[in-house]
């Protein structure tokens, strides 16, 4: 099977999890198709004002 | 002296305050044009000598933000 393996991954969803997965995969040497239905990545986190426990800006 | 305008030098951390100043622009907030921004990589970079130098060069106020 190893010969037929395709070195690319489709990541469905460009929220914080999808972005992190895509970054890790791309940095590890795989071609990534990041699929997101809205016009920009960021997902739910981009709607948040700040994050605890540090109250950092979520952007 | 008809109208005195202060000159303020701002030392802004690249990661937070500089970005905040960007966002102020994006939000079209209006403020007086007396500020001259020096972008620094971190407020940790700010040497007290910069502040002294700024005053010596005629700054009326220094704003450090980070």
């Amino acid at each position: 099977m190893s010969k037929d393996v395709i070195g690319s991954v489709m990541v469905v969803g460009g929220g914080i999890a999808g972005m992190q997965s895509a970054i890790d995969l791309a940095d590890s040497g795989y071609y990534v198709h990041l699929v997101e239905k809205s016009p920009s990545i960021g997902g739910a986190m981009s709607q948040l004002d700040k994050t605890f426990p540090t109250n950092d800006c979520a952007m | 002296m008809s109208k005195w305008e202060p000159k303020i030098i701002a030392f802004l951390c690249n990661w937070c305050s500089y970005g905040a100043a960007d966002l102020a622009g994006v939000s079209r907030m209006q403020y007086p044009a007396n500020i001259r921004v020096v972008r620094i990589p971190c407020t940790g970079r700010l040497s007290p000598k910069f502040i002294l130098s700024a005053f010596m060069n005629g700054a009326d106020g220094i704003w450090v933000s980070g």
Partner: protein, 1348 residues
């Protein structure tokens, strides 16, 4: 919560930072138009008062707006969805309104590239004029041959002037002529010209738009001979051309179509005494438009129904009347209308002086000869291809009434345009039919009809008075007033959202948005991939269905997500917390927890959403930061702050910020009059009913999975849990039930950001393990342009100023800037660009840098935070070192924020540019060193997390040293019985240990510890010590997963009796099948033993689930046993909540205690006696237990030495501190060192496995690069000046400085560029001035300050 237009960007900082356009299904009005006129578009423009733009939209597909705006039967209005509110918009009349406002001949004639080919159009009716118009736009040489002396065809000679004044038509024909179309009048086909003669004259293509101008006969004897029998079409034509001026006596008209009505009203205007229309069916069947019938009736036209002519009555060849027969309606015919049937013997005579038969018209192509090769169909109409409109003869086309039979003008316009497209393609030698097949256009997904839409009556045009109407041919209808038109247009509900006005295309100076990109549609792509990661997230629960909350009915009841937007500076209120109803600042806000979570009755979400407690506290704290006097109350069931540092945040919210926490579920909300305030009722713990009033209520909505995602899961064949989350196993927490498909984020289970990030990396590595053989097969590497050496050169500075469209140039005087910059020292080149970031400018910039031999670049544009990398790339492409660059932010920091003061803005821009020009002159090229990364890894700690990391690394081909201080692998998992999902932990652990043992790439070091670590990312050298001696290993990365231990209690009589156990000890007994557990009659659990105490202010995260699981196990072994759990808050987060429900159902009793009233325990001979207070009854309770299990804290090991070796920090509790609480949970700030398992924070096995994998993923991302590139903008030390004080070594958060150990500069400090992040902390701390920060050095910053 704000308003959004069709063109939008989700939020200011969106990535990609581009706008997008929302389009739903094509607007029904536009879709219904046979002429493809963008009705939605021009209605929109009229609504905005942009009449010229409206005309531009109309003339894209229709050259005659004023004509069609008067006479079109408007199929668009039949489709209008506004009818669902009140009535369809008066779209047609709006079109007329636009044409009334703007003279069509004032529109800009588009640029036309002339072509040589000649095209002949036969007939100057709507089809012919339209075809000519579009062909002329394409540059063709068009001549129209018209048989009549006037243009317009039926529009001119079929439609009476009182409906369509000839001046309107003439104006629009002039517009067609303005494009270069020639019209030859009085040129009759078959007489003056033929198909062959046209061909001979060099016409390469012919279009027939000859219409239907021949009357259909009644078929009654005498029709042709009797005087004063005038066919309808002829009558109208004669009247229109002035050939007939007057009519006397009684006029009878036979027919029921528009021609009949038009003839009647025309006859009336020409002086007829009485006009009767005889129609053989009833009014309902009449084909004429209802408005026309109404108008005719108003004008006293006598319409008689159910009468059919049977005989023309004449005396001496002169008409006296018409014999009719009475009809009745029978069965429906082919057309669906009821067939008129004559009533025998009912004949009667209608007196008439003039008879106008108007029962239809047909096309007359009798001029065609057989040799022409143009086929007609059986009705005598042209036979054409339904897509191209080409006839049976190549190059000859036909359309309009001549092709369809008598129809409406707009259909002829549509046909004319389609034929023009074909002719154009034909003459250019292109495929005529390509891409034109008629598609079913979806008509389902539209902009919602606003619920608040008010009913507004349809606007009607004013008309001229009746006496004027009957006495002449003045136009009856006067059009809309501007007010009427605007109001009518504003009723549009924007079905498609975007109206395709293409105003945005005009506005986009950067040409990013073109007609083509605007028309982009969804495309289907087929991708071949080795693996799939699904990270589609959650959807927020919609509280609409929880009626009692009144969400959406009461404006001041909002969701937590909406509240986030209110808090946000980039939100709809720019960060001012105001309530929606009256924009008043709320003084009292209540948060309701568990809305759509832990709720099986009113919604289907039994799970705990895991994140709401924390975000509610955060929102309350931030809201109180906005307004310290705010009264913030959180109504909750259990406070679930089980994450790292969360409990402290909770305590601070309570004690420092004064947020109130009320343990109650509110059952009633009532509005307080019209004030917008909300009265709530709830029962306190002691049973007391409280009524309170709040300004605003925030619903802490839960996380759930959308139906869409469930569908996707089905497509991937992924099994779901009861809560519809992706089903995973404890040891493979990111693997779905479908091989090769992985999951992360909230789809795996409700979770917070750090856990989602952990899972995300874990999923990446899981996919990586699978695809390791194909690594780097599909990735691309880029070409490198050799760098030019500029050292020693005098600065040659190039400055590029960006207009950013009007964003900068609209405020800042660019010309003044340019002139000013020319005066600055070392400036060699200045230019300004409309958009400096555009691809063209970048290419151009590269050329200019080379041409002018520039060696320093300044770009004055937007923010370096987004665009610096782009311009640096351009420098690299031009062969310049990317650090020879400075960016000046004259947009965000100047033009956008000083709009009102252009002079001051320009002045500020000048100064900022001067500062940067001065600085860039002092900049030197910087080197980015590449250091090789050793491809081996070190994992410290052989528990679940460590093994998981080691396995993932090894499976991706990295040799890994796994160091465990005990003599066996497994860590704390060795003590555990079952997971909450019921899996046997020992069995799973065995398998994992075996996998580690059989993995070639893992070298296990048991009974070993780390005794020394040297080096840094990519190049570590560590010493592994064991009783057998020391081994030095080199490795590129390290992972710390040293675990934690169980708290050994000093409270609750632990150690005084064999009956008092810790959770782990109980697990041991269960594994050993100890009779003590099997026969227990009363088992008690005490939660939070050693956790959430002042000494240890964190939640141990796993104990609630563990005790619930153990309680269930006790019940399973002995169903009669009494099982009691004494708790503070039950924290069975996520789907673990189902276990809690199950335990309660199984009869496990849960009694809450508080920190200030903890249970007491004493040991007696017969058992353990526990005293506590029942939280419901408030009564003391004494329990005699056989077994008391203490759910003890997880205590970190406080590995000080290890922390020192790797220079990584620990928090006050002794857990290691990760790089970033949210975004870097599995790695340290120190590059190359990673973190997983209990050493990070207490966590269950699945999360430890995930984090182990995540650490591996982050490590692989680094190892796979092979090298680490250091940043050029780092600090460096001049050893000669260093005083060896060590300040830099102690202040650096990244451990970059260290003392040189040997050689000439031993004892001095040096900075490892690979570790330095360039923050400059050491530079400003260095009392000897020995440290320099490249790119931000003292001389550079002083120089900037010096020129301010």
């Amino acid at each position: 919560m704000g308003n959004r237009t069709a063109v939008f960007k989700p939020y200011a900082q969106a990535v990609p930072g581009a706008f997008s356009i929302s389009k739903k299904d094509k607007s029904p009005c536009t879709n219904a138009c046979p002429g493809n006129v963008n009705a939605h578009g021009y209605v929109s423009m009229i609504g905005e008062g942009k009449y010229k733009e409206a005309m531009e939209i109309i003339t894209r597909t229709l050259p005659m707006p004023g004509v069609l705006g008067r006479i079109c039967p408007h199929p668009c209005e039949d489709a209008c969805r506004r009818a669902q509110v009140d009535s369809p918009l008066s779209i047609c009349t709006l079109k007329r309104f636009a044409a009334d406002q703007v003279d069509i001949n004032d529109l800009t004639v588009p640029e036309i590239t002339p072509r040589d080919e000649k095209v002949a159009i036969i007939g100057a009716g709507p089809a012919g004029l339209t075809a000519a118009y579009f062909l002329a736009l394409d540059g063709f040489n068009v001549t129209i041959f018209e048989a009549l002396p006037v243009g317009g065809g039926m529009l001119r000679v079929g439609i009476p002037d009182y409906r369509l004044p000839p001046s309107v038509l003439e104006k629009e024909i002039a517009w067609v002529q303005k494009l270069g179309v020639e019209i030859q009048y009085d040129t009759v086909m078959g007489k003056d010209i033929t198909v062959d003669s046209l061909t001979e004259e060099g016409f390469k293509s012919i279009f027939f738009g000859i219409g239907c101008h021949k009357d259909i006969k009644l078929g009654l004897p005498g029709e042709d001979e009797v005087e004063n029998v005038i066919p309808g079409v002829k009558f109208l034509r004669d009247a229109a051309l002035g050939d007939m001026k007057e009519i006397k006596g009684n006029v009878a008209i036979v027919g029921g179509g528009d021609v009949a009505i038009d003839a009647a009203r025309t006859a009336l205007r020409m002086g007829a005494d009485k006009v009767s229309i005889l129609y053989r069916r009833t009014e309902a069947e009449m084909p004429a438009r209802d408005e026309e019938i109404e108008d005719a009736k108003e004008e006293d036209v006598d319409i008689q129904f159910l009468r059919a002519p049977v005989e023309i009555v004449a005396e001496n060849g002169k008409l006296t009347g018409i014999k009719c027969i009475q009809m009745e309606l029978g069965e429906p015919d082919e057309s669906g209308r009821r067939r008129p049937v004559p009533i025998e013997g009912s004949e009667f005579i209608v007196d008439a002086d003039v008879l106008i038969p108007a029962i239809g018209q047909k096309s007359d192509a009798s001029f065609l000869k057989n040799t022409d090769g143009i086929n007609l169909n059986r009705w005598g109409n042209f036979d054409v291809d339904q897509i191209t409109y080409q006839t049976s003869r190549e190059g000859v086309f036909a359309g309009g009434d001549a092709e369809t039979g008598a129809s409406i003008a707009i259909a002829a316009v549509g046909a004319g345009r389609e034929a023009a497209i074909s002719i154009s393609r034909y003459l250019k030698g292109e495929d005529m039919a390509a891409g034109r097949e008629k598609l079913e256009i979806p008509q389902q997904n539209f902009n919602a009809i606003p619920q608040k839409a008010k009913k507004i009556p349809r606007a009607h045009m004013a008309r001229i008075p009746m006496d004027q109407r009957k006495s002449g041919f003045t136009e009856v209808e006067l059009g809309f007033t501007e007010e009427q038109a605007r109001q009518e247009a504003d009723k549009c509900i924007d079905c498609m959202v975007c109206c395709e006005c293409l105003e945005c295309v005009k506005a986009c100076g950067a040409k990013a948005l073109t007609k083509e990109t605007h028309e982009e549609k969804d495309r289907e792509l087929e991708l071949n991939v080795g693996s799939v990661v699904i990270s589609s997230g959650f959807s927020p629960y919609s509280p609409k269905n929880l009626d009692f909350l009144g969400y959406e009915h009461r404006p001041n009841v909002i969701t937590s997500l909406q509240f986030e937007r209110l808090l946000s500076a980039s939100g709809p209120t720019e960060g001012h917390v105001v309530r929606p109803s009256d924009h008043k600042e709320p003084k009292k806000i209540a948060w309701f927890q568990c809305v759509g979570s832990r709720e099986n009755n009113r919604c289907d979400n039994a799970h705990c959403s895991s994140v709401c407690c924390m975000y509610a506290i955060k929102e309350a704290v931030i809201a109180k930061e906005h307004d310290p006097d705010l009264d913030a109350s959180i109504f909750f069931m259990d406070m679930r702050t089980f994450g790292k540092e969360f409990e402290k945040y909770y305590i601070e919210a309570k004690e420092k910020h004064g947020v109130k926490f009320i343990r109650s579920r509110v059952h009633t909300i009532n509005p307080v009059g019209d004030s917008g305030d909300l009265e709530i009722r709830y029962v306190k713990e002691n049973g007391e009913l409280i009524v309170d009033i709040f300004d605003m209520i925030v619903l802490s909505i839960g996380l759930e999975i959308s139906p869409e995602l469930k569908k996707l899961a089905k497509q991937f064949n992924i099994e779901l849990t009861q809560g519809s989350f992706a089903q995973t196993a404890t040891m493979n927490p990111v693997e779905t039930t479908t091989p090769g498909v992985f999951v992360c984020g909230a789809f795996q289970g409700p979770k917070d950001i750090p856990q989602a990030v952990v899972d995300a990396s874990a999923a990446a590595t899981a996919a990586g393990e699978l695809l390791a053989p194909a690594r780097n097969t599909l990735t691309k590497t880029r070409e490198i342009v050799p760098e030019r050496n500029v050292i020693g050169e005098r600065p040659r500075i190039g400055a590029f100023i960006c207009h950013c469209g009007a964003n900068i140039a609209g405020v800042v005087d660019i010309q003044a800037l340019k002139e000013y910059i020319q005066t600055l020292p070392y400036i060699e080149y200045v230019e300004s660009n409309l958009y400096s970031c555009s691809q063209d400018t970048q290419t151009n910039m590269t050329e200019i840098i080379k041409k002018h031999n520039l060696n320093r670049i300044v770009v004055a544009a937007c923010t370096p935070k987004t665009h610096e990398p782009l311009f640096q790339e351009t420098l690299i492409n031009a062969g310049l070192n990317k650090y020879l660059f400075e960016m000046v932010n004259i947009r965000n920091h100047v033009s956008w924020v000083h709009k009102a003061n252009p002079d001051q803005a320009t002045e500020k821009a000048k100064e900022l540019i001067r500062m940067s020009v001065t600085k860039v002159g002092l900049k030197a090229p910087l080197k980015e060193a590449k250091l090789n990364v050793n491809q081996n890894a070190l994992v410290v700690g052989g528990g679940i997390a460590g093994m998981s990391t080691a396995l993932s690394l090894a499976r991706q081909g990295y040799h890994t040293h796994l160091v465990e201080k005990e003599d066996r692998l497994g860590g704390q998992a060795l003590n555990l019985y079952k997971t909450w999902k019921g899996e046997d932990i020992q069995q799973m652990l065995d398998e994992m240990v075996q996998q580690v043992g059989s993995e070639e790439n893992i070298q296990v070091h048991l009974s070993s510890t780390i005794s020394q670590v040297d080096g840094f990312v990519g190049n570590f050298k560590s010493v592994i010590s064991s009783k057998d001696g020391e081994e030095v290993v080199e490795h590129g990365v390290a992972n710390i997963s040293t675990g934690a231990t169980e708290y050994k209690p000093i409270e609750y009589c632990y150690g005084n009796s064999p009956r008092v156990l810790t959770s782990l000890e109980l697990d041991q007994k269960m594994m050993a099948n100890d009779p003590m557990v099997n026969s227990v009659e009363c088992a008690v659990f005490i939660q939070c033993v050693g956790s959430r105490e002042p000494d240890r202010p964190y939640c141990s995260r796993v104990c609630c689930t563990h005790s619930v699981e153990s309680a269930l196990e006790v019940k399973k072994r002995n169903p009669d046993a009494a099982v009691i759990v004494l708790y503070r808050d039950i924290r069975t987060y996520g789907e673990r909540e189902r276990k809690y429900i199950e335990a309660r159902k199984a009869g496990v009793i849960f009694i809450r205690y508080s920190l200030d009233n903890k249970p007491t325990v004493r040991v007696e001979e017969e058992g353990v006696i526990i005293n506590t207070t029942d939280h419901v009854l408030g009564q003391p309770v004494e329990i005699e237990a056989d077994v008391l299990t203490l759910a003890t804290a997880i205590v970190p090991r406080k590995e000080e030495a290890l922390a020192q070796y790797f220079k990584v920090p620990m928090n006050a509790d002794g857990f290691f501190i990760e790089r970033h609480a949210k975004l870097g949970p599995s790695e340290f700030a120190t590059d190359g060192v990673f973190l997983s398992g209990l050493a990070h924070y207490p966590k269950p096995i699945d999360e430890a496995v995930a984090q182990g994998k995540a650490a591996a993923s982050r490590a692989v991302a680094l190892l796979a690069q092979g090298t680490v590139t250091t940043n050029g903008e780092v600090a460096s030390i001049e050893p000669m000046s260093c005083s060896s004080c060590g300040t830099c070594v102690s202040v650096c958060p990244y451990s970059a400085p260290s003392f040189i150990e040997e050689g000439r500069f031993a004892g001095k400090s040096e900075i490892n560029a690979a570790l330095c992040k360039g923050c400059g902390l050491c530079v400003s701390s260095c009392r000897s001035g020995a440290i320099h920060l490249n790119g931000y050095d003292n001389d550079q910053i002083f120089a900037m300050i010096g020129v301010v």
